[in-house]
Amino acid sequence: MNVNQTAAWITHYNQHLQDQKDYLTSLDRKIGDGDHGINMARGFAEAAKAVEAETFETSADVLKKAAMTVMSKVGGASGPLYGTALLKMSMAAKGKNVEGDVFAEMFEAAIDGIKQRGKAETGEKTMLDVWVPVLEEVKSSGFDAAIVEETAQKAMEATKDLTATKGRASYLKERSKGHLDPGAVSSYYLFVSLAEALKEEG
């Protein structure tokens, strides 16, 4: 993944978030407080703008810029978590060609960051339930953008059957079952955007 593709990752992701803003918000209305799409769309619009406004040397630089913007523009639970994930990925990518095993290193760093910040584990019906299966897939079969996207989709769909024990949805206990986790869905689009960016010429 070259620097242009990294920037495209962020701008594609922003595009998806703008398109899915109402959908994500309506998911959050069911089991949260109805702002996830609004938060993500607001913050990543700024992140995409920031990334487009500058020329970067490396993928790590792009990710760092996006991380800082997301941290100060999203808010809520998702802001610190996506901000941390992007920042940890930037740190893992630093000084490296982003390809092959580096993706696994980046995802693993992101997951560690998310877990540390949010004190959640897998199975608690959060974005982790998309990130962790993606990492496991990449670890076991190597990085393949199309397969990552497919794994993310299945994992995202599987959050429907989980009972939330972290985040706002946890207040609903069993009533949270039967609904997709909004952060899992927004994470799925992050991997969709990654696959799209990688398909493009750098």
Binding site: D35, I38, G76
Partner: protein
Amino acid sequence: MKKLINDPNLVITEMLDGFVAAHSSSVKRVENTTVVARKNAPVSGKVGIVSGGGSGHEPAHAGYVGEGMLDAAVSGEVFTSPTPDQVFEAIKAVDSGKGVLLVIKNYTGDVMNFEMAAELAEAEGIQVDQVVVNDDVAVEDSSFTTGRRGVAGTVFVHKLAGAMAETGASLEEVKQTAEKVVQHVRTMGVALSPCIMPSSGEESFELGDKEIEMGIGIHGEPGIEKKPLVSADEITDEMVERILPELELNGNDEVAVMVNGMGATPEMELYIVNRKVHELLAEKSVTVSHTFVGEYMTSLEMAGCSITVLKVDDQLKELLDAPSQAPAFRI
């Protein structure tokens, strides 16, 4: 949806402008932020107290900025925790060198954003400590969950930690007072109607014509149980019965009570609820030292109320009586 707003994207900044215009003699806006601070912040020789959270809970949190309560309040977007940089600005604006206490309501987002701000502040050598308010008995408190939410009881934390800070107490002492309040305050809420997010214009949950939502928080989330609408006395009874066991009250105890409107409930109804709360406490020979009835921690235009009970001792009673100049809590 019908709202007296201009652009949904501008509600926070326009609200803050209107707030500072109304209370310009005592508060200021920290430039280019969503932070409202005391006009004379930082107050020298005093621990600074910073609270905040998503907007939509007015008069929380800016309404509690003033002598005797908060030094600054940070406003996020509607129902969305403010970002670390904003909280950091608030910390910087109120630190007099004596340290800053962060009052955080127990939500994943609030906790993470405020903690990140604390890390930023500590990196700049500012002494920061925090208290996490979790008074909502509707949510189970277990180590496997995120724990109880912070709701209207937070106002008592503002008041009592604020009064303590005003005495010149140390950061540790102010924190101790705040922790004591957190330990002894419990709240339960009910909704008769949902609220409407300015950005989406949609109702936060669906509720039948004769249904209520028991155990709601302050973000328009669905509660823990939908129930048929019964009388005010029955609803109050159920709420109080969920609160009291958690405080292990007995006949010699004294409490302060807050009956808090969620936004659209006529004050008439809040007083009808208060009447029953007092009746129930009297039945248990619990003495009520202070009562607050009104809108203190709202959820936009949600109809409903919360009942908060704070077990008090002589120290807390004295701090409750201490003067406060905050626009939304004058004593």
